[in-house]
């Protein structure tokens, strides 16, 4: 009996997926978008739970947060008859509206290309495009353009070395989310890697929702569009009349 248990323990320890596990904490697992929402900072922290001695190969951690996917059309301008016109267009099947990756070190060292392909961690892997028409030879340039434009406005970011890892056990990082967030489930993944290989993955979601007035207005615009339109007009007319009346009083005084 004892030997059997010892055997089992040994097997359990040898199984790579179980050898090390992530115990995660988030400073918040819900982001409420209120009228004065001005971006959010999420602290991702946790510990590595293990029942075996620490392997010799150094441990690395990757934190990736992805916003809801949305299909896009990317257009490219070309000069025709002296003016710049949209000519080619490529449909991107899905691209996350927000994507942030933080790592403990240079991306190349932390994650091998094979593992990146398998788990789709880096930004180019998170975007999928299959629908490029055959007339367009350089479909990749369109995907690159999405990444370039979104990196520029802060929707996509790679922060190498932003995850702090202490004694191969405690890790933490903070990810700032911009003010221009879309509603939805933000898929959050934490990878532990050794020598570029993924040792374990932990997945959770951060819930980003409009609340209060924002929620009410959004729902009304979708569920009762006519009422919403009439309300907009009523406000406009009332404001126009109000300003006119106020100015008349000002002038009379």
């Amino acid at each position: 009996m004892r030997r059997a248990i010892a055997c089992l323990m040994l097997v359990l320890c040898a199984m790579p997926a179980r050898a090390e596990e992530v115990v995660l904490g988030l400073s918040k697992d819900q982001v409420a978008i209120t009228a004065t929402f001005d971006g959010s900072e999420i602290l991702v922290f946790g510990a590595v739970k293990r029942e075996a001695p620490i392997p010799a190969e150094p441990l690395d951690a990757i934190v990736a947060i992805a916003g809801p996917d949305k299909p896009l059309i990317v257009r490219r301008k070309e000069r025709r008859f002296g003016i710049w016109v949209n000519i080619d267009a490529v449909e991107i099947d899905y691209a996350p509206s927000f994507y942030a990756v933080a790592t403990t070190g240079p991306f190349q060292r932390v994650l091998s290309n094979v593992e990146d392909l398998r788990h789709k961690v880096s930004i180019p892997q998170a975007i999928r495009s299959v629908g490029a028409p055959s007339s367009i030879r350089d479909a990749q340039a369109f995907t690159d353009a999405v990444i370039r434009i979104r990196k520029k406005n802060g929707a996509y970011k790679v922060e190498e070395g932003a995850v702090a890892l202490d004694q191969e056990t405690l890790f933490r990082t903070s990810i700032s989310m911009p003010a221009n967030l879309t509603e939805g489930d933000y898929e959050t993944r934490i990878f532990l890697t050794r020598g570029g290989r993924v040792v374990t993955v932990y997945e959770t979601t951060i819930d980003v929702r409009k609340v209060g007035l924002e929620r009410w207005l959004f729902n009304m615009s979708r569920e009762e569009p006519l009422m919403y339109g009439l309300m907009s007009l009523a406000i406009a007319i009332a404001a126009g009349w109000g300003a006119s009346a106020a100015f008349r009083m000002l002038r009379q005084n």
């Binding site: 002296g82 710049w84 207005l217 339109g229 126009g240």
Partner: protein
């Protein structure tokens, strides 16, 4: 102070929007233009999605035009009769314009057509107004009496009607035709059409500049109210929070603009409008001609 807009899903500075609304409101009150042709590009620039910008802009124009019309009504510079005639033509034109717009959309490249339309119309109208008002200013400086109104073929048409406020006794056919033409263009170009309507009323119908502004605003209210409802029910793109911020600035601006407008001479008003129209035209033309810094653009799949 940052405000998150519920429909546009972006966060913007509230004071920036108040300022923009005020600025466009002043122009609206002064010149009788809705200001959509100025505001829409400005909203694109601060990161509002195009569909939301166009729809919300229409709602804001309702407010500033209404505010402006009330100010003009007090001064009795609105020709309600002429406004109604133009409006009837305008609504017919808008319906025709929507059909044309959808046909062009099925052909693709509607974006380019709209831009070219803008450049050509703004250029032609702005140029004509600029030189005409320049001549008028020069004539008053040198003391020459202004030219008498010509008695042309327009006065020979049937169905004559008296427009007392404008001091006109003309056939209703030209105003209806002007209304239809402006309605078509407004629907295709996605604007209220004030900047085409104002010069058309001055030069084609021979209305006095002072009356033109109020009358133009009067008919813009109805056109843009209709547009707002259409966008709210079909595209769900009217952002009420954005509209409120813009229109608070807009209605105040419209009152100030009207006051400035009534203190200015008609030809000065016309030359300023001409300069503004030409500036927008030049900006659009440069966008088409100069090499853009980013030749790729991201759009929503399915939408336009």
């Amino acid at each position: 102070m940052q405000i998150y807009l519920p429909i546009a899903e972006v966060s913007v500075n509230a004071f920036l929007l108040l300022g923009l609304g005020g600025l466009v409101g002043i122009l609206s009150g002064m010149f009788g233009v809705g200001g959509g042709f100025l505001m829409t590009p400005l909203l694109f620039f601060i990161g509002i999605p195009p569909a939301v910008a166009v729809a919300t802009e229409a709602n804001q124009i309702v407010a500033s035009s209404f505010s402006g019309v009330l100010a003009h009504l007090r001064r009795k510079t609105v020709d309600l009769r002429m406004g109604t005639v133009l409006l009837v033509g305008g609504l017919i034109g808008a319906a025709v314009g929507v059909v044309i717009f959808n046909y062009l959309k099925s052909l693709g490249q509607v974006d380019l057509l709209v831009r070219l339309c803008y450049v050509v119309f703004l250029g032609v109208i702005g140029g004509m107004m600029f030189f005409e008002s320049l001549r008028a200013i020069r004539n008053t400086r040198s003391g020459k009496p202004p030219k008498r109104k010509k008695h042309n073929w327009i006065h020979g048409l049937p169905l004559k009607m008296r427009f007392r406020t404008s001091g006109l006794y003309i056939s209703v056919i030209p105003p209806v035709l002007v209304g239809i033409a402006v309605g078509i263009l407004a629907a295709i170009m996605g604007v209220g059409g004030g900047f085409i309507m104002v010069p058309a009323m001055i030069y084609l119908l021979g209305m006095p500049t002072k009356v033109v502004v109020g009358t133009s605003l009067f008919q813009i209210i109805f056109v843009t109210a209709f547009t707002t409802l259409l966008h709210a029910t079909t595209n769900f793109t009217v952002d009420i929070a954005l509209a409120v911020l813009l229109l608070v600035g807009g209605v105040i601006g419209a009152q100030i603009g009207t006051t400035i407008g009534t203190r200015m001479k008609a030809e000065q008003l016309r030359i300023l409008l001409a300069i503004m129209v030409l500036a927008v035209c030049a900006k659009l033309a440069l966008d088409l001609l100069l090499t853009p810094s980013e030749i790729y653009s991201i759009g929503d799949a399915g939408g336009h």
